[in-house]
Symmetry: C2
Subunit: 251 residues, 2 copies
């Protein structure tokens, strides 16, 4: 089995990168071969895993000058986990290939060549519905949508669902919703409870049972350049991502 | 006096919109005439102030078909505070004017016509260094940079500072840094303290003394469609934005 999942939500700071790193690591711990593709020019997944960002390495050269993508994939200190880093040039990708045919399918073509070497490929997307995210949705089998349990979180949902429809109509008819994961849940506040209930009421079965709590350890782990599993596996944050990995496999 | 300030940081979810709404409201309370321009196609400042997002209203028509910008500006329940809403069409703005000359100066031209009617114009930017943010930096006298006191927060700073240099060289030589405001500070954790110290050490005088704490009331206020001042003026969050307004005026 091999599945490509785009982790996307145009709202900023909702836990896309944190989910890519920690869900990826949790599945790798469960003996799945996992690749994390950092498709954000800011390279937060690259930095958060302690990898130095270097010019012209990772996904950008594999898309632009056709270097073999496998050559740009790095093994990680956790067995079964691999990373394809981002680099700053990625922010110029859209303008550089503006006039090319099939420009939305660049990532799809690159990932198809290596898809069978992994059980899961996660694509960490930037906070926008622009060209990079469209490329990711075109390459993906499904989308995983982290949603912060705060007020603004549902504001962007109509646009996101509309974008999925457009991608399905023109670029990737098979694109499904893998699920919605509630993040940064603060059990001390009513706001989180109210928002979580509202989302479950309106979106029911596509929302995962597991909720990711807001914890200091999850916010600290990237400063040590490690997934939470390698930073403190007994923490609430690590346990919640391990449970999310199990729920994802069950569906 | 009339000043245009872009509130920008390509990192998502750092408090750009929350700062635009609450700093704007705090200055209005202090008898400054303030305009908040929502320049994010997601329209979070519009929604967070309880304004219904409508097709083809606000900043987009004023930029595209030259309707008078003042006609698109709405008064707010707080005296001296005005809002120019966003609408979904704004996300197509870049592609629509791709071939026009001076496309980066569209917002500059529109705001120059009305600049003297306000003491402060805040432009709430989307989480990217793309076309909309470049337009905002070209129109602005200065940039206010919210920085979350968490690990990822400094990752994007080099790219942001580089972008400012480029905007200064080609589009807006007078662009200055108004300041950096530390947001979502959690005094219970070492992470916030460490990050805040690190930022002050490296960026010294451009970081405001006032720190915005992470509080539930600040997260809740947008769900009531109100700035924190109208939701709970005695709260720590409201008080911190009032102090930030005073510090901004002193500089
Ligand atoms: N469950 C959590 N508990 C505490 N902090 C968290 C949690 N999830 C994410 N964070 C922190 O919140 C911030 C935003 O998270 P993250 O960068 O993963 O979001 P994102 O959606 O990828 O942001 P962007 O839109 O900029 O790509 C980071 O500083 C991260 O460390
Ligand atoms: N000081 C604070 N305390 C608690 N919650 C906050 C604070 N500031 C912002 N928030 C909440 O954190 C989330 C992100 O804030 P906000 O939307 O202002 O950031 P942003 O930088 O504008 O995001 P985007 O990059 O998507 O535009 C929102 O849900 C907001 O209500
Ligand atoms: Mg991210
Ligand atoms: Mg915002």
């Amino acid at each position: 089995m091999s599945k490509i999942i785009a982790i996307a939500n145009q709202k900023g700071g909702v836990g896309k990168t944190t989910t890519a790193i920690n869900l990826g690591a949790s599945l790798a711990l469960g003996n799945k071969r996992v690749l994390i593709v950092d498709f954000d020019p800011q390279g937060m997944a690259t930095a958060g895993m302690g990898i130095e960002k270097k010019e012209n390495t990772g996904i950008y050269p594999a898309l632009m000058d056709g270097t073999d993508l496998m050559d740009q994939i790095l093994p990680y200190e956790l067995d079964n986990l691999y990373v394809c880093p981002s680099s700053p040039e990625l922010s110029g990708f859209e303008v550089e290939i503006y006039s090319e045919n099939n420009r939305e399918k660049k990532l799809f073509t690159a990932l198809q060549k290596i898809k069978n070497r992994f059980n899961f490929i996660f694509i960490d997307c930037p906070p926008s519905l622009g060209f990079l995210t469209i490329n990711a949705l075109t390459a993906a089998d499904s989308i995983l949508i982290p949603v912060q349990t705060e007020f603004f979180c549902m504001e962007g949902m109509p646009e996101l669902l509309q974008t999925l429809d457009q991608v399905r109509s023109y670029l990737n008819p098979m694109l499904r919703i893998e699920g919605i994961v509630l993040t940064m849940y603060d059990e001390r506040t009513n706001l989180s409870k109210q928002v979580a209930n509202e989302i479950r009421k309106s979106l029911k079965s596509i929302v995962y049972e597991v909720i990711i709590p807001r914890t200091v350890k999850l916010a600290e782990a990237p400063s040590f350049g490690k997934p939470i599993l390698l930073y403190d596996i007994k923490s609430k944050g690590a346990q919640s991502y391990l449970k999310l990995a199990q729920e994802l496999l069950k569906r």
